[in-house]
């Protein structure tokens, strides 16, 4: 592969790989910025992936080409609903948020697989026919070098992911809600004395995280596998969690981290086909993305500061 060819492969692959992670990680940013640890992202993604596929299969005839997009919405809705469980436990019942998150993970996959069994009588769903298409963006695709890298056969969902990152940044840093969100995650009691409803903000944030993780899962299943089974979502939620921390609980940072994971993955794949290193044992390529991540973290990122009140239930009047 020539260098440019490699780039034409690496860039789109990076973005496609990253899209579900970006959305999910940003979901995590919302939740944890409000002070609710969310390691249930994996389970929320599972729910989204499952709903996305099931809806797509059931309504492909009705909605035609729009099906996968509507499936994203439905997945968002259902995962958001599912995340209410985590919110109730973490915010209202003062649960240990890690335990609740673990329960969400286990419950997500269990419910999804049980439902698949009930609906399809087998371990995985059928394949969807209406997939999220790749499109060439007119005019932009003709720009030399940049065009084929960014604007040729891109998923609409990748554009969506990047848009969501920018919107999330805007919401968190520019709007009253964002200001309140950040204050609740840092110092809920201060927010409370300013008349902010800590419970409401935290519920909202967790539900947003559920919705975004749901979209993330549905994007994954509708672009990568085309069906849903026990292995469809298989650690992506944890990778998103890592991206969120890597990105220092900042939406653009999380997007950057997710893109970095995608890049490392794409790099490993393309490096494996460069002829002069063909004799390098494959295991080095398998672990390359993960090693790169650790090195990047150790190299230039350093300490990441979690929101101060992250993981601590807010109990009115306690000090």
């Amino acid at each position: 592969m020539s260098f440019l060819e490699a780039l034409y492969f690496i860039v789109p692959t990076t973005i496609a790989y990253a899209a579900p992670l970006i959305l999910t990680a940003i979901g995590g940013v919302f939740s944890e910025r409000s002070g609710v640890v969310n390691i249930g992202l994996e389970g929320l993604m599972v729910m989204g992936a499952f709903i996305g596929i099931v809806f797509n299969l059931a309504y492909a005839d009705v909605f035609g080409g729009w099906t996968p997009w509507i499936a994203l919405l439905v997945a968002m809705f259902v995962s958001a609903l599912f995340s209410v469980m985590h919110a109730v436990a973490s915010v209202s019942f003062r649960a240990d948020q890690v335990v609740s998150g673990v329960a969400i993970n286990m419950l997500g996959i269990a419910i999804a697989l049980f439902s698949v069994k009930m609906m399809f009588g087998k371990g995985q769903t059928d394949f969807i026919q209406k997939k999220i298409p790749r499109v060439n963006i007119p005019i932009l695709q003709d720009i030399p070098v940049i065009g084929p890298m960014f604007f040729k056969s891109v998923y609409g969902t990748s554009v969506l992911a990047i848009l969501v990152a920018i919107i999330a940044w805007f919401v968190i840093y520019k709007t009253p809600f964002g200001l309140r969100l950040r204050s609740v995650g840092e110092h809920p009691m201060a927010a409370d004395t300013m008349g902010i409803n800590v419970t409401k903000i935290r519920y909202t944030a967790v539900i947003i995280s559920g919705g975004l993780a749901g979209i993330g899962g549905a994007i994954y299943s509708q672009t990568m596998t085309g069906d849903f089974g026990h292995a469809t979502i298989n650690g992506q939620g944890f990778m998103a969690l890592a991206a969120m921390i890597f990105g220092k609980w900042h939406p653009i940072g999380a997007m950057g981290a997710a893109l970095f994971f995608g890049f490392a993955q794409a790099l490993a794949i393309s490096a494996g086909s460069i002829s002069f290193i063909e004799n390098v044992p494959t295991v080095y390529f398998y672990i390359l993305p993960y090693v790169l991540t650790i090195l990047a973290l150790a190299g230039f990122i350093g300490k990441a500061n979690a929101p101060k009140a992250n993981g601590v239930p807010y109990i009115k009047g306690s000090r």
């Binding site: 492969f9 394949f127 596998t225 085309g226 494996g272």
Partner: protein, 330 residues
């Protein structure tokens, strides 16, 4: 087995003529679209043919959620007094070996593995022979003279696929280079997709996958390319079972063919022998082209008849022993 064990044992003792069989799946489950499903189909077919019903005394299966379940599942079926218990997958060798020693009066069979015990029949397939034919077909069908192979993990079975496939391609045209890549996993669709994307981008037009769930990603990539451009010349060759359905893109289908591994055939064969009292205990039976153990699936017209004819010639030569397909990748 809730307290039914004892009464079963007695009832069973007086009814020798009945023959019952069961299987333990590996983590895939009976609907994995792969060899577990195929084995279960074999058992069901045998059951139907012999008037058995599902349940104790007829036929049954137990699903494993992890390696740790193999022994206990085999044990459970043994306790339920099945006459013949299949273990599906090479990972079950150890477990079968252990239980066969403990329960010499039950017969066992292992699929894809070898266990040397007098009450165990070992069933192997010549995946390389089927893969060879897939390679021949691919080499005859390629327009770019670039062909890809996407493997899951680097384990002996998958390496047999690779060996046969590469040999098959070379037999037709030694100049065609097969781009061989393993993804290191059977469950990472995104890697299969990315790998396939890289291959197709580099000019490969046909990819044979032996990568389980990772292979889903290969299909996805091919379908996307087909959907974007109806005239795109991209193909996938499926594995284990007929993956035609996976390849459907609107009115087109990108599944060229699939290399079938007829576990069902082998299961029925062994079961029949056992029922007739000719159970091949201690033996290893290898099912190849000749025994209908491996073959290419119906291409539904994707492969033109003249090409199909040439493929069949190769098949005949293999069956006759004229061509020896290598078992190990270089």
């Amino acid at each position: 087995a809730c307290g039914t064990d004892k009464e079963k044992t007695t009832s069973k003792g007086g009814n020798e003529s009945e023959f019952s069989l069961a299987m333990v799946t590996d983590v895939g489950g009976i609907d994995d679209k792969s060899f577990n499903q195929s084995a279960w189909k074999g058992i069901q077919d045998f059951g139907k043919d012999n008037g058995l019903s599902e349940g104790d005394g007829g036929y049954a299966y137990l699903q494993s959620k992890g390696e740790a379940d193999y022994t206990s599942n085999l044990n459970a079926l043994t306790r339920r007094n099945f006459d013949l218990v299949f273990g599906v997958g090479f990972l079950m060798e150890e477990a079968i070996n252990t239980i066969a020693e403990q329960k010499p009066e039950t017969n066992y069979a292992i699929i894809d593995g070898v266990v040397e015990q007098p009450n165990v029949a070992s069933i192997l397939f010549k995946e390389q022979e089927g893969a060879y034919l897939a390679g021949v077909a691919a080499a005859l069908m390629t327009k770019s003279n670039k062909i890809g192979f996407v493997g899951g993990m680097e384990i002996p079975v998958i390496e047999r696929f690779e060996a046969g496939f590469v040999a098959g391609v070379a037999a037709v045209n030694p100049d065609i280079k097969v781009d061989v890549k393993y993804t290191g996993a059977f469950d990472k669709a995104e890697l299969g997709k990315a790998e396939a994307g890289r291959m197709y981008s580099s000019g490969v037009d046909i990819i044979f996958h032996a990568a389980g769930g990772t292979g889903n990603g290969v299909f996805t990539e091919a379908k996307e390319r087909k959907a974007a451009d109806k005239d795109a010349y991209v193909w996938v060759i499926g594995v284990d079972s007929d993956q035609y359905d996976e390849g459907q893109v609107g009115d087109d289908n990108i599944t060229m063919t699939s290399m079938l591994k007829r576990v069902d055939v082998a299961v029925q064969d062994i079961a029949k022998l056992a029922k007739e009292g000719k159970f091949p205990g201690g033996e290893t039976k290898v099912y190849g082209l000749q025994d209908n153990g491996v073959k290419l699936a119906d291409s539904r017209g994707a492969i033109p008849d003249d090409v199909m004819k040439q493929v069949e010639e190769y098949a005949k030569k293999i069956a006759d022993g004229e061509i020896k397909v290598p078992e190990f990748a270089k």
